[in-house]
Amino acid sequence: MHTLSLVWEDLWKITVASLILGAGLPALFAVGIRSLAYGTGGDAEEHGAGIAPAPHPIGRALAGLCFAIVLLVVGLGIVLIVASGFGQELSFDSIYPTIQDK
């Protein structure tokens, strides 16, 4: 039964990390879509007949920010995987990520 507890230790880590990245990033993307619709106005949002919502530039800016964060995190993820394949690792010691030997 020792195996069960060992597997469990790994599994809950995977679950928590996957929830943050696997559900969180799509949710952030959804926030981006929502903001973009708010920013675009008109028929992008559901509205009553004849009263099309006005476009809001702030919505577009927020959408851009959301999409940028999603792309950045995915990009970092790919770099992390590739780097560990080549015996390197990603370090956040200097705030912005750098690649160094393991």
């Binding site: 995977i14 990390a17 990245l21 559900a23 799509p26 959804a30 992008a44």
Partner: protein, 398 residues
């Protein structure tokens, strides 16, 4: 000579691995129309090729998880090496044949099942037949996660549940957040998200799955004395495996794509993005933690989860139950084929003759199944047809 057969059959396995798993990454994008079928398989094939080359981590000890034919540093067990390593080569060959036979059969039935389970099942069966129960690594030595139970069975039980949970939460959040946005606007937006997340899954598949075959081929090369370095894999092996898995992916297992994309859940692009996002995250995170999960189990769990998370969506549980049934029997069924082919080879002297005969048997079975598939072809043109509608297509999944 037996070595040549092992290499060819291993590459054939890699090829079936590719077309069996195209669906994991691309089924949802094809079903929602985010990508046309042809573009989807081309993208998946290219990313698998890239992924396979990126996986430089040494996968030489891949068989150690389930059987004891190698030492912990990757060298084959010395007592299996008498006579040019033919004992070990026959076990590996029979194991690969078991894996391919099961992959082809499940493809014919349109069922997604784990290629790594098929490979491990075949190897376990051949080892049981060749070396007895002591040749199988059931549970490791208890100090770390290892063996058939720790590395194959428990992860298989857990991974669909985790992926399903993540996808359900993701889908629920997405629909909550985008409530009030016009449907046409969300569809277009999420298609881009879907393409991105599906590409990530393809890349992850290339890095994960191609290296299993690389490890098996290198093991065979070492056993027959053609390679001695246990730290590296010959470049031509890497290139051949990458090409085999990529061309298999490009061919596309349309039957399985149809089941995953249309059979389980009627999928919309926000669900597709949630499902692929969950799959990509679970696969990459778990393999980064050194805990390899089956891409197939994860992807299927995610798609189910995206059906559960969307308010009012229907999940075809009968299709899901059939898939789970296929997963449960993957290990024993591939094992049975692996064991039987080992006995056939052993009966014929356990040498070249045996190896040729079992490879010929596999080829005959493969041709028979391919011909059977021609009767009810599933191809890019009809892969998205309605699941329930015309009886002619319903039988493709039966």
């Amino acid at each position: 000579m037996i070595l040549v057969l092992v290499v060819v059959v291993a590459l054939a396995f890699d090829f079936t691995n590719g077309f069996h798993d195209t669906a994991n990454a691309m089924a949802t994008s094809i079903a929602t129309g985010a990508l046309t079928p042809k573009v989807a398989v081309a993208l998946a094939g290219a990313l698998n090729l890239v992924g396979a080359f990126l996986s430089v981590e040494v996968a030489l000890t891949v068989t150690n998880a389930v059987v004891k034919i190698q030492d912990s540093d990757g060298a084959p067990k010395p007592d299996l090496l008498s006579g040019g390593g033919s004992d070990l080569l026959i076990i590996v060959l029979a194991g690969l044949i078991g894996g391919i036979a099961w992959n082809l059969l499940t493809w014919l039935l349109g069922l997604p099942s784990s290629s790594s389970h098929a490979l491990f099942g075949g190897l376990i069966g051949a080892t049981l037949a060749g070396l007895g129960t002591s040749g199988v690594n059931w549970n490791g030595d208890g100090s770390k996660v290892d063996g058939v139970i720790g590395k194959v069975i428990l992860p298989a039980l857990a991974s669909p549940v985790i992926a399903g949970l993540v996808a359900a939460v993701g889908t629920w959040l997405i629909y909550r957040i985008t409530a009030g946005v016009a449907q046409r606007f969300t569809e277009t937006g999420f298609r881009w998200g879907q393409i991105g997340s599906a590409s990530l899954v393809s890349l992850a598949h290339g890095t994960n799955d191609a290296q299993k075959t690389m490890g098996v081929i290198t093991l065979a090369l070492i056993a027959s004395g053609h390679w001695t370095d246990t730290e590296n894999i010959p470049f031509w092996v890497k290139a051949c495996c990458a090409l085999a898995i990529a061309s298999g992916t490009y061919l596309g297992g349309w039957r399985i794509i149809r089941t995953l994309g249309k059979g389980l859940v009627e999928i919309a692009s926000p669900q597709g993005m949630a499902a692929e996002g969950a799959s990509g995250a679970v696969i990459l995170i778990s393999s980064h933690l050194g805990f390899a999960l089956s891409t197939t189990h994860v992807a299927t769990g995610s798609i189910l989860g995206s059906g559960i998370g969307k308010p009012g969506a229907t999940v075809r549980w009968r299709v899901a139950v059939r898939m789970v049934a296929a997963w449960v029997i993957t290990l024993p069924a591939a094992g049975l084929v692996g064991a039987l082919t080992w006995y056939v080879a052993d009966l014929l002297g356990g040498g070249l003759l045996g190896a040729v005969v079992i490879t010929a048997l596999l080829t005959a079975a493969a041709v028979a199944m391919w011909r059977h598939s021609r009767k009810e072809p599933v191809h890019p043109g009809n892969v998205n047809d309605e699941w329930e509608a015309p009886a002619a297509h319903q039988t493709t999944a039966a």
